[in-house]
Symmetry: C2
Subunit: 466 residues, 2 copies
């Protein structure tokens, strides 16, 4: 089968690149209202590509925002069903003058295809569509049941996706989700993301005197909200970086030996990382490696803090208010609401004298997401990636949050495998975004083989949760 698909992709290479270029010419920027028509055109284009791939059912569905493209090819009730996720919208292109060629005039240079969306995510979502088309051409149908869910609002935070999923649970039902959005460790090193951290955030508002005061006339008489806020924030973490909120770490699940070994196997270069960030030393919770701190330990970070005078020089004000925004990254099995309860309780138990403190929780909490390293959907993917790249994939996690994985798990009850073929040098969200042509060919082959391998797995095994 590997020979078949590789030959097929090689023979179709010119067509594949030409078709992807068509897709890339549509400036489907979801953040800018003036591109609303382009969003519609891109959805139409995706629907056409899915029909061309043989998908019997292709619907452009209303969400209240940008439409979702749903497709379904039912082969047999005896086979597993996978649902493949991606998005057809792209980031804005500013600053335009830093692009070597115009962002919506795709151009091949040095073996790379340059355009906005080449990697994120038009190039990556195009790969499984072409893999299905290859099945149609080579075998008449795919080896298992396939659904596609391709949205047009990922770059603006997928504001309508969860509601759509809740409304269409039956339509979207599957045994496994595959995320065709993201990247490998690099274009030579495959990797499988097995988890991401959750998110929970709040704002602290400290109020002292009813209005700003003259710090000369009143200083020494009343509490200063800026000092009070500094004391609150300083009390949230130890000088070494351990979070001091009682109970904060209680629900953190210990790593399995496999998970720890997988992280230890990642070739992380601390010196290169320090140089990249421009810091003299790394920092964080004692007792854990940098990758552990970023991937599998929870954090509490102040994201913003302000109050009083911020201009040039002196203004001797004792301000009325001070503010800070805090987000926590969560790991299994922490619960966002419970963590916010703990943080809020700690803040309110440590309010300095002379001020009022209130806490507002931000919407948009996300649970942490993790798949067991030994999950069959990952071991199958690892074998395929090994044969294609000639090396075993790294097993990684994300320090950030992947809300889509958490949504699929929570709303559809399925695991999500991150299976996408971008690289860290693709300049996604930046000028001169690109994707190697080799990655496109490799990705189509990899999706083709993964679908074939998943077809041989028992459906119930795919749905096992950690």
């Amino acid at each position: 089968m590997a020979e078949d698909i590789t030959a097929y992709v090689a023979a179709a290479d010119d067509d594949i690149v030409a078709q992807l270029k068509d897709f890339l010419r549509i400036p489907s920027i979801s953040a800018l209202p003036e591109h609303r028509g382009d969003i519609q055109r891109a959805a139409q284009w995706v629907a056409g590509a899915l029909r061309a791939a043989g998908m019997p059912r292709v619907d452009i569905m209303d969400t209240g925002g940008a439409p979702l493209v749903f497709a379904h090819w039912h082969v047999s009730d005896q086979l597993p069903t996978v649902i493949i996720y991606g998005h057809y919208d792209v980031q804005p292109v500013d600053p335009l003058d830093l692009w070597s060629t115009p962002p919506f005039e795709p151009s091949v240079r040095g073996g790379r295809l340059y355009a906005r969306g080449a990697s994120d995510d038009k190039g990556n979502i195009f790969m499984p569509i072409k893999a299905v088309e290859a099945y149609k051409e080579l075998h008449g149908q795919p080896p298992l049941n396939i659904k596609f869910l391709i949205e047009g609002e990922e770059e603006v935070g997928s504001p309508h996706l969860a509601a759509f999923m809740e409304k269409h649970r039956d339509l979207l039902a599957a045994h496994l989700a595959i995320c065709a959005d993201g990247s490998m460790w690099d274009h030579q090193t495959p990797s499988l993301v097995t988890g991401s951290r959750g998110l929970a955030g709040l704002q602290i508002d400290v109020t002292g005197p009813a209005g700003d005061l003259h710090s000369g006339n009143h200083g020494g008489g009343v509490q200063n909200p800026l000092h009070a806020l500094a004391a609150i924030l300083a009390g949230l973490r130890s000088p070494e970086g351990k979070i001091l909120v009682p109970g904060f770490y209680d629900d953190v699940r210990d790593l399995t030996p496999e998970e720890k070994a997988a992280i230890d196997a990642v070739p992380f270069d601390e010196e290169a990382y320090k140089a990249q960030l421009g810091v003299a030393e790394l920092f964080g919770e004692p007792g854990y490696s940098t990758l552990e701190r970023q991937w599998v330990r929870p954090t509490l970070e102040v994201n913003g803090m302000w109050g009083g005078f911020q201009g040039e020089g002196i203004k001797t004000v004792l301000p009325s208010t001070a503010h800070a925004k805090i987000t926590c990254r969560l790991v299994p099995d922490q619960d966002p609401d419970k963590v916010l309860d703990l943080v809020e309780a700690h803040i309110m138990a440590n309010v300095p004298p002379g001020v009022q403190v209130s806490v507002r929780r931000f919407p948009g909490s996300a649970r942490p997401y993790v798949m067991p390293v030994k999950h069959i959907a990952l071991t199958v993917a690892a074998d395929i990636l090994s044969s294609i790249y000639g090396r075993r994939p790294l097993v990684t996690r994300m320090g950030g949050t992947l809300p889509v994985a958490e949504m699929f798990r929570r709303l559809l009850g399925v695991n999500m495998v991150f299976y996408s073929f971008g690289g860290p040098d693709d300049q996604i969200h930046a000028p001169d975004e690109s994707l190697p042509l080799a990655a496109i060919r490799r990705g189509i082959v990899a999706h083709y083989e993964y679908l074939g391998a998943l077809a041989r797995v028992d459906a119930r095994q795919l749905q096992v949760s950690p």
Copy 2:
């Protein structure tokens, strides 16, 4: 003599108000360049008033900024010389729609004269000018040698005053300075300000990673400058409000029994103060009363603090930098440079790991200023105010800084007595600024009598420093 001057002022009342209204019609706003011509007109008006008062020498002198009006009436080498300070410039008038009558169309309502500058400082500087004129009319000359120094940049921080004083030390030489700018405790309660706190300030700049980072991807890996800054600020003061900088209090002079008694005698209503400020409790260094903390104890206050995201909602940034502005109010015998040395050393000795910290000192430090409560110039003033108001003046201090007093002391070697007749309800710097007509009459009489009393004091006694 009291009968003479009181009768003189009563007889001249209409003229006095009419003349002051003329002065108030000039919109001499020093902060706004479009009023540069009005600044010149106001200086000319002051010079004319001084000439009309009989001052033999009146010069409008260049400073590089708004001109200073200098005047001199030398009576006898055997008599003391006093120099009277004030300013002819005024604050801007925004918001204009909150004025009941236009700010530069003086209007009398309910026994008060309403106009921008009515109290601060045109009304107050007009009083000693009219007192000298009264001496001219009643006695042909004043009872001692008199100089005036009336500037036009007080409301913008007197940027050229110190250089002018240094250049013209001989011209300005005197035994005592009288500040005709400020206010009494209230219009029924006389008070004498005997000291003000000094000022020293710096900015703390904390730098972590070279650029803003995604707090999900990098959180847990590197120090967050906002946390580092919070820790630095929290380390500057104890939770109870005591400043933790080693050596900070070393040079603070103990209060004399007279000073402590004077403060204890001030009828300070803590409940009213809390209600005015809108706070549930007062706060500050343990072991001292509120007035002591505001008047005779040094402070360290954060005036501004910022870093990261300040908009609505969440932005999961781990920012590159964080900043804070700090000012200290100083009391005798603290030295601004030495205090900044101590604060800077404490900050640099407590830099959290993973960040760079730099400190920038602000220009504009001021030394604390104090006159002994028993100084002859104060006891004489107290006797006169007692007879005019029918009650002994309170002996107070300023929590804020009076740079002009410190400048006169440092550059001319003279004490400054604050002798001015505004009140806390005059709405200075605000819409509907006003001054009671009774305060104008009382102020002219009080200046007249004070000059007469000072003429009987030995000149050397007036110059005694604490």
